[in-house]
């Protein structure tokens, strides 16, 4: 549905994107994940037509839109701070895209009412954006983008301006909405938990380059670069092997392939316990153990334990 090929964007001496290739299937929700400055927002804006690439091509639904203006791409865009039209009511905001296309009035009314109901803002139709809470403004921005029935939905850090509680609720709601509408969606986020929870596939960007694209499981269990490994989850080293802290087996007796270690510190994190150990052969290690398992082990500071890694991460 969306095909990016060799896309590069440069601002003077700074390279924002370097030869990025990405293909998004119809109906997929792909997250663009990366730290600040990784180029993920730039990539989204290139797809939207708000930025033009210096190299490469962009195709939507088979059509080359590399230099087409945003109006002609059939996209819907939700900005990080929602970009509401302050002089219009919620109803008029959502109706904007339809009015601009001179859609017949009753058709506008039907669609706007349906969308407002979908996002739960029917009662706020006559309010102005500044009278809404952050979460409500976000939902309005989404409804506004969906009103024109875009083929592709682009979200630029949609939840970053909201507090954690509202965030979580809206995340779940967005996934449901996506499943219901089936719109191809590209979402920028710097929050790995958000990407893991919502996306069918995640594209990890670092410093303008695409590091890896894959499902959340692929990225977590089989990262291809050290950056992806450390960005998508924590990792710990046991001897020569690297593994996720919660994938290290903690044993009470020596076993084949297990490394001896001494417990140096224990931290109770609630759902799991973090145990720091000094390895017999030198070096330190950090493992995470589910609470129930910890009760079985009953390890204290100074105790000896044996660590075994059955599922190491490929990248060392």
């Amino acid at each position: 549905m969306i095909e990016l090929s060799g896309v590069s964007v440069r601002y003077g001496a700074v390279t924002a994107l370097e030869r990025v290739d990405l293909a998004v299937e119809a109906g997929e929700l792909v997250a663009l994940l990366g730290p600040s400055g990784s180029g993920k927002s730039t990539l989204l804006r290139v797809v939207a037509g708000l930025e033009l690439p210096d190299e490469g091509t962009v195709a939507i639904d088979g059509r080359d839109v590399t230099y087409a203006p945003p109006q002609q791409r059939g996209i819907g865009f939700v900005f990080q701070h929602y970009a509401p039209f302050p002089h219009l009511t919620v109803w008029e905001n959502v109706a904007f895209g339809l009015r601009v296309r001179r859609t017949p009035r009753d058709q506008v009314r039907r669609r706007v009412e349906r969308l407002l109901a979908m996002v739960g803002l029917s009662k706020f139709a006559d309010r102005r954006p500044h009278q809404l809470s952050g979460g409500q403004r976000q939902r309005m921005a989404l409804a506004r983008a969906l009103a024109i029935e875009p083929r592709v939905l682009l979200l630029d850090e949609p939840f970053s301006a909201l507090d954690a509680h509202v965030c979580r609720k809206l995340r779940a709601w967005l996934r449901e909405l996506h499943d219901e509408l089936g719109a191809t969606t590209l979402m920028v986020t710097h929050d790995r938990a958000e990407a893991m929870e919502l996306a069918d596939r995640i594209a990890v960007l670092n410093d303008g380059r695409l590091e890896q694209v894959g499902s959340p499981s692929e990225l977590y269990d089989a990262p291809r670069t050290a950056f992806v490994r450390d960005f998508v989850g924590d990792s710990t080293r046991v001897g020569e092997l690297v593994a996720r802290p919660d994938e290290v087996d903690v044993l009470e007796a020596p076993a084949d392939g297990a490394t001896e270690a001494m417990v140096t510190r224990i931290a109770d994190l609630g759902p799991h316990i973090r145990i720091e150990l000094a390895l017999a052969g030198g070096g330190e290690c950090e493992v995470r153990v589910p609470r129930r398992r910890y009760r079985e082990l009953d390890l204290r500071q100074g105790d000896i334990a044996w660590l075994r890694v059955d599922t190491p991460l490929a990248v060392a």
Binding site: P69, A83, F85, G97, R128, H130
Partner: protein
Amino acid sequence: MTAGATLAADGRTPGRHGPRAAAVGRTRRGRSSVGAIVLRALVLGYLAVLVVLPLAFVAWQALAPGLDRFVRSLTAPEALAALRLTLIAAGVATVVCSVLGTVVALYVVRSRLPGRRFAEALLDVPLAVSPVVGGLALLALFGREGWFADLPIRVAFTPLGVVVATVFICTPYTAREVIPVLRTLGAEREQAALTLGASPLQAFWRVTLPALKLALVHGAVLSLARALGEFGAVSVISGNLVGQTQTLTLLVQQRYENFDLAGAYAAALLLAAAAVATLVLLLRTARDRPGAAEGEGGE
């Protein structure tokens, strides 16, 4: 503007800043401190001596010879012609500068074309340069030996010249009001409009312009006030032909020089009244102007 500031200094803000700010200049008991009283007296004294007194004096001098004389001065043919020219020039200049000012502001803030910073600096030239120099420059362009001396429409020593000179003088006002608002607003809303299918023109009309409304009105009022009182540039370019290219300000000067003091003061009072009326308009638009943050409502 200043009116808003003096309201706050009074200590009785309409609760927007909370009780602490209202306590500025007040002692614990709520009575004004000595320092605040002295400051207030100084400010009011300054305003009285430099603003109120001269205006009161002009009014007195204009009306002292009798209401009859006053009305005759104002209804004399040269006075009516001057009034008409002043209003037309000020009106046209305000409209032209509003439109052009907005275009320049858009170019400076939103476009990625070269020369933006230069253009922005150029905007201040009519403010920095003496209006007389401006008028002279126009004369150099359009006068008998000027570059554009042979245009089909004569500019020098005509009412058109008066209008052109006024436009030159008023050029900075709208642009300088609109530019900061455009900057603070950011391009996101216009981009949102584009992604929703609006053409750049539609985006401007439906999204940008409504946001600029107050800045435009404020700029227009400033323009108008400035245009009404313009003297230097107009004096040079117009040739001061009575009944044809003479504005109210030029009329005041001419009558004064011809020892028609009552007539001069009458015209001056008219100008002063127009200035005060414009100021009142200015105060209303300034107070209604909430600053850049209003539209966002806080993010």
